[in-house]
Subunit: 343 residues, 2 copies
């Protein structure tokens, strides 16, 4: 644990541009400790104007200029090849040079992911980094991984996701002995596809608190802390969930307008609806860490609110302070699955 | 199209036993045409008692005895091996013998699926049958397939699912030129896993109305008629969706009890909530056909309501009358993908 902890924030990422990110940065400052500092990376002229609003002369914020921006709809690969001085590239290079301890970005997910792996490299013992996303449930939030870094996975990848997710759930979500479930299509160990059948065997032999297969209906119960799946299924589920809030709103709006009784009821229930929307609004959560890289990189939703940005900064700080990567390396070394072939 | 159309109904399937199934059968009778008949298969003593309630002497219902039942939680494979005289086996064997034109069952999904394929065999040109499920959307209901018959798929399987789904959507949902989407993790054709990347190429070369990749968030928009995916992803999504109604109820109940304002609002909005629950209650829909077998077999949800059973019977009738299987065979022959390798 260093005395001086620095987090770089990609100020140009996100659908709404720097103003939301800067607002999130300013919001989080009262919660920082002595010696902790945020480094805003982006168009410095623009950022000076944005920060001016908050008159931040005395705030622990510094600026680092980056002349380019990766658009949200730009191809990550093309962007990484052609643009060398983007806000995300500069932030990650500060991290690689040891000038910051973590990076937070609400930019183009594919680009943040690819350039994080490219710049920071994989963590020792990890074959494929994974994106871990919070999911709201009937009880406490849980994490699901991978939600998009790896469209095709091998059983060993899923095992490593489980290890990383378990450590993350313990350190960041505070679960003492995180329950790890494998997303499949039946509770019995004999149910699944080729990937999950073999992953089930690996997980069963590991020292993780593996509770077995889960079905789609079990994700939101809150009776598991870490849901492990390949990045294809995880991404489909994540994006499907994001659409639920929209379909609910559409449905209720249609019926609510139908008569006076419904209109009045809707007015009375407005706070409950708002609450529900917030619970299911992923932009409220503190971003998704890319686990398994040699550094800390948090990917926020493009439509992140200032609160989401500030939450992500706090998660990044905690990941650095808890030394999550050291724990992951250690745990993978101890279990040694894939190297010595035992659990 | 035969003059005398007969549909066998597995009367012993479903979580609640024969009474619900019999109620569904009796409900649908006024909608049958002259010469159409339902064959109830199950414990004949029990069924006579159940039917007695409705005094059905003049109804177009006949009974066929089956001495055994497959339990909902029984292993399909074991059940099929050990029990030769179950209601579902007898119903399917009537179908194979040409004594009925279709089978409807709310029994153990795995068992209905496996014994349907086993008894009726695959349709000419189809490598793997698939279960097609209705999904409610913001607009009209759509179908998603496969939702569980095939945990591991090849690109050609997805292409065949698309052909079968498209024909089903046209004949049963009445869509003139069904839009077929491939479930993936990005809209661009370059996004996906190995399976979907190759399936995208096959679909792009076909004569289907292929609208490209869909993401998880696009399933419920109603801007597509047929969503194609492997049975693993489809099953996870289906079961995940089934759990949404439950999490909504839990959430609202928690908040609704909190104060008088919310209680009053909830009372006023009760019809809207009920409506929503119904929209998302898959048991309300008319079952899921197993497409790609040489016959018509509709798998209903274990907790099907009488209405769901009667809807399933109507869907079965329509599948027979429209000659869906003939169309599938014809279409697969015309396109010839997988045989001559062109679209």
């Amino acid at each position: 644990m260093k005395g001086k902890l620095k987090i770089a924030v990609d100020a140009m990422g996100g659908d709404q541009g720097p103003s939301v990110v800067v607002e999130g940065v300013v919001e989080v400052i009262p919660r920082l400790n002595q010696g902790e500092e945020l480094v805003l990376v982006g168009d410095s002229e623009r950022l000076k104007r944005e920060i001016g609003v908050f008159s931040t002369n005395f705030l622990p914020i510094s600026l680092v200029h980056a002349s380019q921006v990766i658009q949200m709809d730009e191809s990550p690969i093309t962007a990484l090849r052609k643009k060398k001085n983007t806000s995300i590239a500069v932030a990650l290079s500060l991290h690689r040079q040891g000038r910051v301890d973590a990076v937070v970005s609400a930019g183009n997910t594919g680009a943040v992911m690819a350039s994080s792996v490219w710049t920071l490299k994989r963590l020792e013992g990890v074959d494929r980094p994974a994106i871990a996303s919070f999911f709201p449930t009937e009880k406490e939030p849980i994490i699901v991984l991978d939600v998009g870094a790896n469209a095709d996975c091998k059983p060993l990848n899923l095992y490593q996701f489980a290890v990383m997710g378990s450590i993350y759930a313990r350190s960041i979500l505070g679960r003492r002995n995180p329950r790890v479930g494998l997303l499949s299509i039946g509770e019995e160990s004999s149910k699944g596809n080729e990937l999950t059948l073999e992953a089930h065997r690996l997980l069963g032999r590991s020292s993780l608190n593996f509770i077995g297969n889960l079905e789609g209906k079990d994700i939101l119960t809150g009776d598991v802390d870490v849901v492990v799946c390949d990045g294809f299924v995880g991404n489909v589920i994540l994006k499907f969930t994001e659409s639920i809030e929209r379909i609910l709103t559409t449905h209720f709006n249609k019926h609510l307008r139908s008569n006076l009784r419904s209109k009045l009821g809707a007015l009375l229930l407005k706070p409950v609806f708002e609450n529900f929307r917030k619970d299911f609004d992923y932009a409220e959560y503190g971003g998704a860490p890319l686990l398994g890289i040699d550094g800390v990189s948090i990917i926020c939703h493009g439509k992140s609110s200032p609160k989401a940005i500030s939450n992500a900064i706090l998660v990044a700080r905690r990941m650095v302070k808890e030394g999550i990567n050291e724990m992951i390396k250690q745990r993978l070394k101890e279990n040694g699955i894939g190297k010595r072939g035992n659990g």
